[in-house]
């Protein structure tokens, strides 16, 4: 397996998949990412990341049912695997650990 460290964008995509629960397919992930991060998520990039995550074993996928909406093409739904959940939790813990040792944190000016 390739390195299990999560890149920033990988982590975001993984979180989005987890958040979308049963509706996590590429276009929905793009939309969700755009909604939460405010930056445009390119389809090609998201696909590449999804492919990589699957290679790393952090997500798994299955094909859905065909509908009229996508020119008759089926969607590929993603789901976070156990390894994915572990990776997410660990990265969250790392962050929280770091946050905890910051003595005081003052946001000056506007965010």
């Amino acid at each position: 397996m390739k390195g299990t460290n999560l890149g920033e964008f990988e982590e975001l995509v993984l979180l989005t998949i987890a958040a979308l629960i049963n509706d996590a397919y590429s276009v929905a992930i793009c939309d969700e990412l755009e909604k939460y991060t405010g930056r445009a998520a390119k389809l090609g990039v998201v696909h590449a990341v999804l492919n990589r995550l699957e290679e790393k074993g952090l997500v798994k996928s299955r094909m859905g049912e065909a509908t009229q909406a996508r020119g008759g093409k089926r969607k590929r739904y993603y789901e976070v695997t156990h390894a994915g959940k572990v990776a997410l939790t660990r990265s969250k813990e790392v962050r929280e650990a770091l946050w905890r040792i910051i003595p005081g944190f003052n946001l000056e000016g506007s965010v």
Binding site: L43, N51, M63, A69, R70, K75
Partner: protein, 880 residues
């Protein structure tokens, strides 16, 4: 927003096909679905156009390593298994349609023979100098001069000093060799054998840089001692016959040279060519060289420096060294800057055009023109194939249908038809080979530079030929193969005529128009070029060249010869000149004129002539007289000038007679103007008439005798002149040519060009005509029933012929409308601007070319349509 009541807009098909083609099947569905979803969304928010654009961009962006499918080997395997079947069906279809197969194969063969010639030619050019062991790291030193008025000249030659300095000052150079050209002398072996020899001076490292195998002698020391001579086998045979040459003495003038080495004859494709090498030190030892400072930094015209660098040499560092070297030396130069650079050896023959080339050099445009012409002809033949195959696709569509039902995929059908066209193209290659052999002899005879290319056959060349044939086959067969691959099996088997054969009609028409446009451009180019070429030959030069024989003096004094020649009855008059004008060589000098206080000086063209020269050539004196002061040597006082010179120096404004008696300074000598000549052509037609002077000289050993012949019997006159010459000079054979022929020779490159283009024109027209013929046959065949019914209903033959041919005639008219203006503009704006003096482009040539093409086309169309129109409708309709 537009609500589409009719069909909703769809994503672009080609982008989807592209995705289908490259994408891995397991990813495809999802990716395509995403693209579709986005497309639908964008359609609503951004409109159809933007949506399509985004679709295309996204489809392209999906092209990533992980999405690209791996090639499928199974398919290739099936192709391999099916080859036998393809071969069989191809053969059957070839035999079934004899006319069309013939048109295709002959057309391809003819055009390919030209292609083979060009391939062989280029392959020779690129194999120049390959025999040198260090070829990849051998460089030549180039010299660039820039004068005060910013004129830059690039020389292949350089100074000896540069060569020596590089050895001394620049690190990282392996070997440097210095070569000097310009040794012409008579080699005297014994009293009987005296052979004129052209040799090259070279220093001892010559054989370290170049690989010229030495048969006898030691390459390391052969050129070390003064007066050493290294000769080739051929020269050895010339000098000593079969006897041993090594160690023998050869006398040049008053000096004895020793043969220290015999080289194997030079390979044909070597850009350096010589009969003999002489050690460079022998030249440096001779102090009394007319060429004063042999070792000067600015003496850059006769010497060549080649050097080898170690593997992975630091070229930038060496260039920096060269720059430093020239900067240091240039401080001692006035009015001029000299810089140096390195040229890799493989760029010498087929590279930039330089002054003072040591040997062979092919200007790139020539090669491009050759490639272009061959391409046009080959593409034209490919068009024929494409056109005829598609036109006749109905016949074979059933076969394709059955293949598809049995299980052939698109790719298989594509492969089958490509294989077929490649087979045909290989057949054509076999046919074209003898044609190529014929063309080769013609072409070699045509090349002005002797021994430029050998065009010898080699396994490598055969490989290139094979590749060419395969590429031609693939090009010709691609569109038809694609067409067949797209055929829908069920549709074809249900009703063969339902295939839209005529869907490609506009493409086929376009191909015909292109073919004819090129044919027309070629033929009018040939005619105009020929006319211009004849024009150059018959151009009024301002003096006569008729019946004048120019004899090269080859170092002899002329007094005696003149006397003896004058006794030949056929000889009318004899004159002397240093050079022959109007042939392209120029001989310039500096002239100063002091007009009322302001001195003015400029470059003028010059010739040295005697008093008989002007009358013999019937130069027209508009003022003054011929030379009156005729000193035997040196002390000339007079000069004859042309009108341009008066204009340039503003010596007189109106009456040329006012210039007589004025003084000008030529080469520091004050000379008086005694005559003014009407302007004449000193250079070739691409040069403007410029200020020119004639100076007096009675004796020109390096020049020419101009002999006026009055007899009509030239061979007899020549024979008696040759007899006199032989008595007079026993070493050199007579070197004489008629002035008219020399002028033809000077414009020979144009003759060659006209011949080459003329030949290509012939081929292009043949191929285009064959294509047209095929199309006409096909059209009339398919419309035979229609014609019969029309006839039964009362149509006249003339009416039918008109109906059948008007489509083709229309295409020809379009081709004419494109071709003629293009040719005219090409000549008017590009070609003829290079010539200051030329005849205007005649409309007659353009019209003639149209008439020729039209006549051939009429014949092709007329014969077939007439046949169709005359057919008996009862016979045709009965057979249904």
């Amino acid at each position: 927003m537009k609500t589409s009541a009719n069909k909703p807009p769809e994503p672009p098909r080609w982008a989807r096909n592209l995705l289908h083609w490259y994408c891995r099947p397991d990813l495809l569905e999802d990716l395509e679905g995403d693209l579709n979803e986005y497309f639908e969304r964008n359609l609503k928010t951004k409109g159809a156009r933007r949506a399509r654009l985004i679709y295309v961009l996204d489809a392209l962006k999906f092209f990533r390593p992980y999405t690209v499918r791996k090639p499928e080997f199974l398919n290739l395997l099936i192709h391999w298994l099916m080859l036998g079947s393809y071969f069989k069906t191809s053969r059957r279809s070839l035999v079934r349609n004899k006319l069309f197969s013939a048109i295709n194969i002959i057309g391809l063969a003819v055009s390919m023979s030209v292609g083979l010639l060009v391939v062989a030619f280029l392959s020779d050019l690129f194999s120049y100098d390959r025999f040198h062991e260090k070829k990849n790291r051998t460089y030549r030193l180039l010299t660039h001069t820039e004068s005060d008025d910013k004129t830059v000249m690039n020389f292949a030659s350089t100074s000896l000093k540069a060569g020596y300095k590089i050895q001394e000052t620049i690190a990282g150079v392996e070997d440097v060799t210095l070569i000097r050209r310009g040794f012409y002398s008579d080699a005297k072996v014994s009293d009987e054998t005296i052979v004129p020899l052209e040799a090259t001076w070279a220093d001892p490292s010559f054989f370290k840089v170049f690989t010229f195998p030495m048969l006898k002698g030691d390459p390391a020391t052969a050129l070390k001692e003064p007066y050493s001579l290294v000769i080739t086998e051929k020269t050895a045979r010339k000098l000593f016959g079969e006897a041993e040459a090594l160690g023998k003495t050869v006398r040049f003038d008053t000096l004895n040279y020793t043969v220290t080495g015999v080289l194997k004859d030079l390979p044909k494709l070597s850009h350096i060519r010589f009969e003999a090498l002489i050690s460079l030190v022998s030249m440096l030892g001779q102090k009394a060289d007319s060429d004063g400072g042999v070792m000067d930094w600015s003496n850059i015209y006769q010497n060549y420096v080649y050097l080898t660098l170690p593997e992975n040499a630091n070229l930038k560092g060496i260039q920096a060294g060269l720059d430093k070297l020239s900067a240091a030396e240039n401080t001692r130069l006035e009015h001029q800057k000299i810089t140096l650079s390195l040229q890799p050896m493989d760029k010498i023959v087929f590279g930039e055009r330089l002054s003072n080339e040591i040997g062979v050099n092919i200007p790139k445009p020539v090669a491009w023109v050759l490639i272009g012409l061959a391409l046009v002809v080959i593409v034209s033949a490919c068009f024929n194939y494409t056109n005829l195959s598609i036109a006749r696709s109905m016949r074979r569509s059933r076969e394709v249908g059955v293949r598809k039902i049995v299980g052939a995929l698109k790719g298989h059908v594509l492969g089958q038809f490509l294989a077929e066209s490649v087979i045909i193209s290989l057949l054509a290659l076999v046919l074209s080979f003898p044609l190529f052999l014929v063309l080769r002899t013609q072409f070699l005879a045509l090349i002005p530079q002797e021994g430029l290319v050998s065009l010898e056959l080699s396994p490598q060349l055969f490989l290139y030929f094979f590749i060419l044939a395969v590429v031609v086959g693939l090009t010709a067969g691609f569109v038809p193969a694609l067409f067949f691959a797209r055929i829908k099996a069920i549709q074809v088997l249900k009703d063969a005529s339902s295939i839209k054969v005529f869907r490609h009609v506009s493409m086929r028409k376009a191909l015909l128009v292109i073919q004819y446009t090129f044919s027309l451009i070629f033929i009018s180019t040939t005619l105009i070029g020929y006319r211009q070429y004849r024009g150059f030959l018959s151009f009024d030069l301002g003096f006569t060249t008729e019946n004048i024989l120019n004899i090269r003096m080859q170092g002899n004094k002329s007094n005696l010869l003149k006397k003896e020649l004058a006794e030949i009855p056929a000889v009318r008059q004899i004159a002397t000149s240093r050079m022959i004008t109007s042939l392209g060589s120029l001989y310039g000098t500096n002239l100063k004129y002091q007009a009322k206080g302001t001195p003015d000086s400029a470059n003028v063209w010059l010739n040295f002539v005697d008093e008989n020269y002007l009358p013999l050539h019937r130069h027209h004196l508009i003022a003054g007289t011929n030379f009156k002061n005729r000193p035997t040597s040196g002390n000339e006082t007079e000069v004859i000038v042309n009108e341009q010179l008066l204009k340039r120096f503003r010596i007189t404004t109106g009456n040329p007679a006012e210039a007589i008696g004025k003084q000008v300074i030529v080469d520091k000598k004050p000379l008086t103007i005694v005559g003014v000549l009407k302007d004449f052509h000193y250079g070739t037609m691409d040069h403007k008439i410029e200020p020119t002077v004639f100076r007096y000289s009675a004796e020109e050993p390096g020049g020419y005798l101009n002999v006026g012949i009055k007899s009509e019997d030239y061979p007899a006159a020549l024979a008696s002149i040759e007899a006199v010459w032989r008595k007079f000079d026993k070493v050199h054979p007579l070197n004489a040519a008629f002035y008219d022929e020399q002028i033809e020779e000077a414009y020979r490159q144009f003759e060659v060009m006209v011949k080459v283009i003329g030949f290509i024109t012939f081929l292009a027209i043949c191929i285009a005509s064959m294509g047209l013929f095929g199309m006409v046959v096909f059209t009339t065949e398919t419309r035979l029933k229609e014609i019969s019914i029309r006839k039964v209903l009362g149509a006249s033959e003339v009416g039918l012929i008109f109906m059948l041919s008007k489509g083709f005639l229309f295409l020809l008219v379009i081709a004419t409308l494109i071709a003629l203006p293009v040719t005219y503009l090409f000549f008017d704006q590009v070609v003829l601007t290079k010539f200051v003096y030329h005849h205007p482009i005649g409309m007659s040539e353009l019209l003639l070319s149209v008439v020729v093409i039209m006549l051939i086309a009429f014949f092709m169309i007329g014969s077939q349509t007439l046949k169709a129109a005359r057919s008996n409708p009862a016979n045709v309709l009965k057979s249904e």
